[in-house]
Symmetry: C2
Subunit: 196 residues, 2 copies
Amino acid sequence: MSKIKVIRNETKLAAIEQQASILFKQKGYSATSMKDIAEQIGIEAPSLYNHISSKADLLKTICFSVADSFEEEMKRSEQRNATPEVELEQMLRFHIQMMLNNFTTLWVANHEWKHLSQIYLKKYIDKRKAYENKMRWLIEQGITKGTFAALDAKMATLIILAALRGLEFWQKEKQPANADVLENNIIQQLFNGLTQ
Amino acid sequence: MSKIKVIRNETKLAAIEQQASILFKQKGYSATSMKDIAEQIGIEAPSLYNHISSKADLLKTICFSVADSFEEEMKRSEQRNATPEVELEQMLRFHIQMMLNNFTTLWVANHEWKHLSQIYLKKYIDKRKAYENKMRWLIEQGITKGTFAALDAKMATLIILAALRGLEFWQKEKQPANADVLENNIIQQLFNGLTQ
DNA sequence: CCTACCGATCGGTAGG
DNA sequence: CCTACCGATCGGTAGG
């Protein structure tokens, strides 16, 4: 009986985190009230505190679950010992898949992280920076090898990261989104550009 | 004397709008209080209402001043009767310049527009859509002509728009930002891609 | 431009 | 899981 209780509480916690993500994306973190979240779950606002410790902690959980996913992929990626251009392509493909499969939580992590409490803000920014640095390093390697054009590596990184965010708009359009076509289209455009 | 008064009030209104933009970008619209804005100006919160009608109206003014700038450029652009690829390039260059010279207000328009009141929300979305459609139409023309590769025009548009947002990150890095180099780098990467 | 103040709502706690 | 309630803060108004 106690076992069932634990399972139920875990699914309810998951439901709260999911609804919080949806609302944080829809209205923004600050404009979302605990009452808003509670209503989606079907309970009163104070009852949320049986599952979570605070609104700030809810945001922390969402942002760090995303950051940790990317961190883990980076570690896996390094163990594959691929060429810089292949490793970059693989990072991009992982990023695109994350965008398609977890787009609400990614949206929140990308746009609402600035509302993280002081304690977690720096740690979060550092994790993001590590990902960005890794991508820039791969581009620099590609430039040195001569595979990539002699662009500004930092700007190329930012353009790529920004372009990946374009998938947010794509999701919004509710296109049936054939993941493979999407992936290849983006990779092609970023690697080869617009012109023939 | 009354003339001086008018001028003073106009500059104070401009100052309020400027500080509001900075704070809306920094903390987000919802997390910014009228007291926050008033403090930056050096007056009490209720005194703001001698210059503005509401917080919502402040956001409206910011968002629509940006949207109107792009709308005017689109009209000018059409009168130049250039080829689609040249017109696209010119639109991109204008967009980049706007990003560099008005990046705080553009940031707010890009990220906080969802907090616009019902009445203005649809009108704003329509203006954005018109800009997006114009860009997609130019890309479609370029594809038909054979100047551009046979990409998905809609996705290409979204990738370009997202990439232009990358300049937000760039600004944040406080790089001295030689505008010409930046412009050419972005145009090159979007048109020709990463690879040699 | 200020002080004084309004009703509404916020995140969160107490106690059961 | 609820009701009752806390102090704080919100956007905005009245009146001078």
